[in-house]
């Protein structure tokens, strides 16, 4: 991991302190601290419903936190305007968005929204930036296509270009490899590394533990809205932790092209997770 060879002691571009989110009495996220550093990819892992998307949405300002703070370049985002925040943090969601009547170029141009006055046209600098962003994500040849006609992998690259055109210090990605075939997954992950290498901090929710272990410099494992573990992936993603959080047995297997995780169901019927929730049910009864 490149993370192990770069022990840079820098102030994080973005960090959260005790970030909480609740809907009525239900706690969705309970006091999460995470930091994102320039040039590094931080993965957010966890089972479905563990709060990964909520964490990203709180950071980007799509949801208001119930308590806690988000610090961006050393400033509390509560003191920034929405546009100021949007100039520093970009966000790519996981949805497919079939019904969008925009050309690819216009989609990428949306990234300039927080940088432009409402009534202005598109400046030459904006159009140059759109072109450069499309080139960086390998989507330049798609520029004049209708966004709705693209494949899943192409859409993802265009959304990444849109986020880059926002010229963010921190890029948030929600499951960027979701619904993609394996080649498109690898392309997107390679792109994520390139973006980080150019100096942007990346925070990425991701399901695939093996991908996370390969791509991320650090990972944060969420379980039911709280941090179960955090650190370099090979230290964090131990068989014990995976069994405790996901309820499956996992094993690191070293192969010719690196190491991979192999999963199998936990023996003895119910998973650890199921057993734990069952015992919680029993306690409530």
């Amino acid at each position: 991991m490149s993370g192990a060879t770069e022990p840079a002691v820098t102030v994080a571009d973005l960090w959260t302190s005790e970030l909480r989110y609740r809907i009525n009495a239900t706690q969705i996220l309970g006091g999460v601290d995470v930091s994102v550093r320039s040039g590094r990819v931080t993965g957010v892992l966890g089972p479905n419903g563990s709060g990964k998307s909520t964490l990203l949405r709180l950071i980007v300002g799509a949801l208001p936190p119930s308590s806690g703070h988000v610090h961006l370049m050393g400033r509390d985002v509560a003191r920034l305007s929405r546009r100021e925040r949007a100039r520093r943090v970009a966000f790519v969601e996981q949805e497919a968005h079939a019904e969008v009547d925009l050309r690819v170029r216009d989609v990428v141009l949306l990234g300039r929204t927080p940088h432009r006055p409402a009534f202005s046209g598109d400046s030459a600098a904006d159009l140059d930036l759109v072109e450069a962003s499309l080139r960086r994500t390998g989507a330049l040849d798609l520029a004049d296509r209708e966004f709705a006609t693209l494949s899943g992998g192409e859409k993802q690259r265009v959304q990444m270009a849109r986020a880059l055109a926002q010229t963010p210090r921190v890029l948030l990605l929600d499951e960027p490899t979701n619904h993609l075939d394996v080649a498109a997954q690898l392309q997107v992950l390679a792109l994520v590394r390139e973006v980080a290498a150019a100096g942007t901090g990346v925070l990425m929710a991701i399901h695939d533990l093996a991908h996370a272990a390969t791509v991320c410099d650090d990972v944060l494992v969420l379980d039911a809205g709280v941090v179960a573990a955090a650190g370099p992936p090979r230290e964090v993603l131990t068989p014990d932790l995976i069994a405790a959080v996901y309820g499956v047995r996992a094993e690191w297997v070293d192969g010719e092209h690196g190491s991979a995780l192999v999963f199998s169901p936990l023996l003895g019927g119910g998973s650890a997770r199921q057993e734990r929730t069952m015992s919680a049910e029993a306690f409530r009864l």
């Binding site: 966000f91 925009l102 929204t113 930036l129 390679a190 590394r193 290498a197 942007t200």
Partner: protein, 384 residues
Amino acid sequence: MTRTDLDGGPAPGTADPGPYPAGARKPALSSPGRTRAAMSRSVLLWLPVAVGVLVASLLVSLTIGPAQITVAEIAGSAWHHLLAWLHGLGIGVDVPPNPLTQIRDGIVWAGRAPRLATGAFVGAGLALCGGVMQAITRNPLADPYLLGVSSGAALGAVAVLLLGLGVALPVAAFGGALLALGATLALAGIGGALTPNRTILAGIAVAQACSALVSFTIFASARGDAYREIINWLMGSLAGRTWAWVAIAGIATVLIGFIVLAFGRTLDAFAFGDAAAASLGVHVTRTRWVLLTLTALLTGALVSVSGAIGFVGLVLPHVVRLLIGGRHLRLLPVAAFGGATFLIWADTAARTVFAPQEVPVGILTAAIGAPVFAWLLVRSRRAA
């Protein structure tokens, strides 16, 4: 997969210090493909076309009617009135004679012209409202009447026409529209946050309640000619509109139109949903309520002038989006001019096709709009 597979990009040490260093090389911007595609959607191409078609439509439909009046006569008469007006201001110009007799002059400038102008402003306003509503609710079926505004206006109008409420009809219709909007927002807000879906459902409930009241009032108290009058109003009609009505529709459409246009870029940011809009720096909730309120006010003003004319606000934005794409700074002005042109021709047909009988123009907009909408539906199914 190995890290070397993934690390295709420059190593951190050799990478650019920032994402976009000063003096970055200019990418080649003009490939032939881009120029062509950009042209076919350029607002510089479509806006003059839309304005030209509207002006031509206005001139031609001024000549259509029982009295035979040519474009040349109308142009001469307009020139006469313009110079007479300048003369009246004390500017020394020679006023040429009016090619139209006084009666024919009246037919053009007191009869046809204000009716056409009302239709143009109402059509433009409805298309604008439809385009905005579809963007902020992300619902392709959204139209200006979504929040019960038209049913409320109808209730106000019926109260005047049938129950003899002692206020002017447009005032009562506008009041009814605002009351319906208030009821919709209040209903949607009970016991929870105002979400777009709850708002639309509340609008449907309010619209149904108002419609039931309107039908009952008609059933209980309409006699003889009142039926025709009320049906005319409910179906939408531009018959007998004077310059006073033009002023109401014109001021509302131009004023709110410009405000809405200032939100053009913001509306684009809604294309990928609320979270994406928020991540682009848009205040999602505030923007949605400002725009919903503005469009409801404009719709209320338009309904009070013309009755509820359907399908213009629903179909026109879709057609224009198909032609020039979904960027609202282009879409909204072109849709407005398109809506104006569409309603002018629908109304010209309404007053001539079954002459001397007049058909309520709403019947014609529906008769044209419904097949167009069906065609759009079939087309989008093929594309998907």
